[in-house]
Symmetry: C2
């Protein structure tokens, strides 16, 4: 896969699939006696279309009938008088490829395929899916699935959907795309019933054989009914397009929220089984999401709460980007727990201003501590005037960016024993005049959410979340999204033109001097390095570059030079160099007699600094990615490595470094001077440009160590492995 160029992407138009004006259903029958669970899926689709008020034409395909469920029925797709936009296949998998090919031949441009038994089940299924992929690739035929529930277009009233759709479906601004059919309805129901959040689309995309996550995202970014896109993803098929669509979403301020499954080895196995997806390396996805401003959530509940808050207009309108929350609770215990959760999530719970404290002392007589979290105590339950005053105090406090209220809207107790109902009206009143965002959260996650609390609050622009952990993580996610957007807009950083493709280099491992020359082309400094062919040449080179020097055996067949006695360090004068040269050749000759020796390289010893590693690896999905980390135990023990996806700017490079656990080392600890972080960032940018320029011919780069010298003195590559194909 070539390193992607964001600007050159051409997107297909998904309208025939996402908003078809006519539909043919294959797999409906006149059998009407079945139980709801046993109803043929084709019939269920027709029923869904009818119940949803689909305004387009519906035809059925079945050679046994001329009419099914009051729709005209034709023997095959080719005999439909006027070709339809989209065909829905509710048939066994073995019939699918032929049917799709005949649909394409008949002028139909899209299909939804429910059946499983494709790439997820081994060789036979893979071959079956390959025919679908060819149709998509070669003829531009759009396919949702296979192995999916299909597409539910809410505003277009077009549910090409395999699952029964309950009455009271809630239309709204959130588009949901889920690789899993089962989770698509589970998430949708939770959004509608537990959060009163409406949907614009549900797409269960299954194996993505003919339309990918990236394409759905692109369509939904352009869809005027959609303001927030939420997705459950196991694997991406066109990762090279992901950052492009993320950028487009960011341009239009449409948050793209993704729960990415398949982080662990076992779950990658599960994902491969389930949808034939390659899950990719978790840390590469994390980097891609961060670079694209994608809101990365870690659980279904975090996905739901993020979709709920990001789609809540007046909340979002009033949000200023800050991380300082004010908390009002009637439970001191919850004050403690939410403080712990806020600290974990990276939010602040600041003290109240003195003004607030004074005002509170006047307005709420005989009240205890004026802290944040603000504990209303039993007093709040006994005197109904207290709660609105405490709430208003938080709304007015200038130390606070977001007001959160601990409200048990999901308390399973009878209404008259529940506090939530008593306080929600006061919250609605406060929200009506508040210029600050207000959200509610319950202590425990679970139990029925009382619609009498939920609906009016949502209408008042107050989203409800469940659990302090999810609530604080969601506000943190919001703050990160806001910061991403702000930095993007504020960025004056000139994007350098993409480097020109590099001339073809010979395959295999580059010799040290050639590797260092390549680095220099991209502005990555290396220690002076000269190849010597005998001891005298080595001594002369050493004198020219100044002592002390190191000698290292040069052979494409030896990667671990010190293991074969091929390295000598800190040589202080010509005679030490000569002796070392001879000793190296003897040792290597003895320990690696078969290796072809090019000579011995002479390198000036680098000054003292911080040893880092910097390199390029090929990710199975994202192609070439840049890695940077500290040498030694931090990388060995903690896998403390930052990942960036080219192209990388200096700002992005700095952001990568800042996420390393060892980052404080660069600022200078234990009496060491601060390191030259600017030069390190430039080296990261250089490596990123090298990756873009070499593209497909590059297999990997490993600079180890890259010495980061004290501030102002730069960085210097000491040893490097460049592998070309």
């Amino acid at each position: 896969m070539s390193t992607h160029r964001l600007d050159s992407i051409v997107w297909r138009d998904l309208s025939p699939l996402m908003n078809p004006s006519s539909v043919a259903v294959v797999g409906a029958s006149q059998r009407a006696d079945a139980l709801p669970n046993r109803e043929p899926r084709g019939n269920r689709v027709i029923r869904n279309l009818r119940n949803f008020g689909y305004p387009g034409r519906i035809v059925a395909i079945n050679p046994k009938y001329t009419e099914v469920m009051d729709c005209p029925c034709y023997p095959d797709i080719g005999t439909i008088p006027d070709p339809v936009d989209c065909v829905v296949l509710a048939v066994p998998n073995r019939h699918v490829p032929d049917l799709l090919e005949s649909a394409a031949a008949a002028g139909t441009r899209a299909a939804v395929v429910f059946s499983a038994g494709f790439a997820e089940i081994g060789a036979e299924g893979k071959a079956r899916q390959a025919r679908l992929e060819a149709l998509s690739r070669e003829r531009g035929f759009l396919i949702c699935g296979p192995n999916c529930y299909g597409v539910l277009n809410v505003f277009g009233k077009a549910p090409l959907f395999a699952s029964a759709i309950p009455a009271g479906f809630l239309a709204g601004p959130v588009a949901l795309v889920s690789q899993s059919g089962g989770l698509s309805t589970t998430i949708a129901n939770a959004l509608m019933l537990n959060r009163h959040v409406g949907l614009s689309y549900i797409v269960s995309c299954g194996n993505q054989s003919g339309a990918t996550f990236e394409e759905y995202f692109n369509y939904l970014v352009e869809d005027e009914n959609t303001r927030v896109i939420a997705a459950f993803v196991e694997g991406f098929k066109q990762p090279e397009k992901l950052l492009a669509v993320a950028r487009k979403a960011a341009d239009r301020n449409k948050p793209l929220i993704i729960l990415k499954g398949g982080r662990s080895d076992v779950s990658k196995r599960a994902a491969a089984t389930h949808s034939g997806s390659l899950a990719g390396a978790a840390e590469v996805f994390d980097a891609a999401f961060r670079q694209g401003g994608i809101v990365a959530v870690r659980s279904l509940n975090e996905l739901i709460d993020a979709a709920s808050v990001f789609s809540c207009d007046s909340f979002m309108k009033h949000y200023n980007g800050g991380r300082r929350i004010g908390v009002l609770s009637g439970s001191g215990g919850e004050c403690t727990l939410v403080s712990d959760a806020a600290a974990n999530a990276g939010l602040e719970v600041p003290e109240l201003t003195e003004t607030t404290k004074t005002q509170l002392q006047e307005s709420v007589a005989d009240f205890g501590n004026m802290n944040n979290p603000l504990d209303g105590t039993g007093a709040m339950y006994d005197d109904e005037k207290i709660f609105p005053r405490l709430l208003q105090a938080l709304v007015d406090d200038t130390n606070i960016d977001v007001v959160t209220i601990n409200l048990e809207a999901n308390d399973p107790r009878p209404k008259e024993l529940k506090s939530g109902n008593r306080f929600s009206v006061a919250i609605e009143t406060a929200a009506a005049s508040s210029k600050k965002p207000i959200a509610c959260f319950s202590s425990i996650v679970g139990g029925p959410v009382d619609p009498e609390i939920l609906l009016p609050l949502r209408k008042a622009g107050v989203p409800l979340m469940e659990g302090a952990e999810c609530a604080t993580a969601t506000i943190r996610n919001l703050a990160e999204y806001y910061e991403f957007q702000t930095n993007r807009q504020a960025s004056t950083e000139k994007h350098n033109a993409a480097p020109a493709p590099h001339a073809k280099l010979p395959s295999g491992i580059l010799p040290a001097q050639a590797a260092f020359r390549l680095f220099e082309e991209f502005g990555i400094p290396a220690v002076p390095t000269v190849l010597a062919h005998n001891a005298d040449e080595a001594a002369a080179s050493a004198e020219r570059m100044a002592f002390p020097v190191a000698l290292k055996i040069e052979s494409a067949e030896i990667t671990h030079k010190s293991d074969v006695g091929g390295v000598a360090l800190k040589l202080a004068n010509p005679s030490e160099v000569r002796a070392a040269y001879d000793k190296i050749l003897t040792e290597v000759g003895r320990r690696a007699p078969a290796a072809k020796i090019e000579g011995v390289i002479v390198q000036r010893m680098a000054s003292e600094g911080i040893e880092m590693i910097l390199g390029i690896k090929r990710d199975s999905l994202f192609g070439l990615v840049v890695l940077c980390g500290f040498g030694g135990i931090l990388v060995e023990l903690l896998k403390d490595v930052a990942v960036g996806i080219p192209p990388l700017s200096p700002t992005r490079a700095r952001d990568m470094l800042a996420r390393l656990r060892g980052f404080p080392l660069l600022a200078g600890v234990r009496g060491r001077p601060p390191a030259d972080v600017d030069a390190l960032c430039n080296a990261i940018v250089g490596v990123s440009r090298l990756a873009v320029s070499l593209g497909d011919q590059l297999l990997g780069v490993d600079i180890n160590p890259l010495i980061v010298l004290p501030k102002g003195q730069g960085v210097v590559a000491v040893d490097a492995l460049v592998e070309l194909q």
Copy 2:
């Protein structure tokens, strides 16, 4: 606080408070016209007692009446004809101390105090609470609260409880103790209604002025109706008793599950405000919980799921201690997510045995991949015979310890669209004959849990959890508890007798030689160290102990010796020693002219090894605790320090080390030999014995570095600071 001796603890009998045979209620009145919310708390208590069928005597105290709610009413506590066991105070805080003193004088032995306004609100409240604490301490008077909801004894039908109790209260084996009143009912309702878990007690203990968490735990460990204790704790008042009661709970196999709030700085402030608790250092609590086999949970939902599973008898009976889960789901997406969650939680999701795969292929025709997680796919919904076969396959598979089923029991859709109802009967059938534990979990947390699924499953010994994250964390918690119990029972480790109290040492900082002598008393080796008073003495000492040596200035007033030029290392011969001696004295004389100099110590340079730190600190709650970690960036950057609470055995010491992120370093990385872990464990035990022996006179110990030499060569303390009071 003295270092605790577990065996000498005397527990008070809490029966008058927890199971009173007669109760007096102060704060009830004849006003019967109030709304339920405005009902005087005293009346609510009487109503609760009546509704719950309290079999004991109830009297009211109110000078205005002779009868309240059909109870005899007396003007004050002293005039009750027969003293009652317990008095319930539903009165403003200012009346509380006098009333309690008169109750004690009248022969009453216990009280429940609801009102707030004590230690949590500053000086006046602290003074008020001090009178309660004195009553408890000096007269053994038992007090639940203040600032609480009181005690609800379910089997004794004695709800001395401030909050309204809904009908349908579920009796069962879980005792709940919560510092927060609000959370006590929230947790209890979630347990009863969302998990169908019954309760034996609810204790909302508030400020613990006259009965502590430790005392409640002790009572409940002895209570025959209680099999599991779940607690929400902000702070402990008698931490020195916590490990004793934990041991007692472990002896009786009654799991003690604790959610400890107040881990972050803000939440500690919140906890102090709310209940006047000192929250203590999170890492010390973590250590104490681990040593005590206390199940430490991190959220309310994890508390609920732990209480649910640990109290589910047949599940627990069949559990073998393993961490290998089998997962059955109808959603491939959930298969991926639960695999991620399992990896995070530290559970295994092993492959199925070949036997299982073969049997499945025979019994489930045309079925896809036989993996774990086992994805039932749409087939499981279309053919009802498939689900039971898949389930039985997991039950029979010898690679699996716990069978988990992804079941949407909290799906908010109408029953006929819900899959949960269709599969729960099959699960009940399988559970009836299974010798392996079976649990269910939903994908999303939240929404009403369908009682028609929940109740029969619970009856069949199948607990329900919500969310893959909580479910996997709960099984991990279970595995850790099981491992703790198994190791405890299997441990043949001889507990050495506690060391005798040490003779009084002079206060201040111990000189190096004295510190090392003290270490040697406890078996902690130190490098040979001699104090010299002139250059000749130094040179002679160095020759006796063998070169190379180090010189270090000796002065109680200089803690950072190298900062004042007070250290010289790697001295190879007598003349170097003499020169270094003179140079040190000159430098120190110049840079620290006021410091009183004892001389210069001569130390043999330690051999190369791994530099660690080992020490003792004083925790505000647990007293002296032992700390151990790696020197250098791991401790500076990552705070990678293990904590142990004395007394520590070698096994416990090794468990501490195994939790360090740097632990693999001890096994030898990057070509280094493995380190002498046994000797390091012995040094930790020695430091623990030193802490116990010196007790109150010790302020702190800091051995830095302790060099851990290669296996078989021991450890050696090189520098140490011992501070005595």
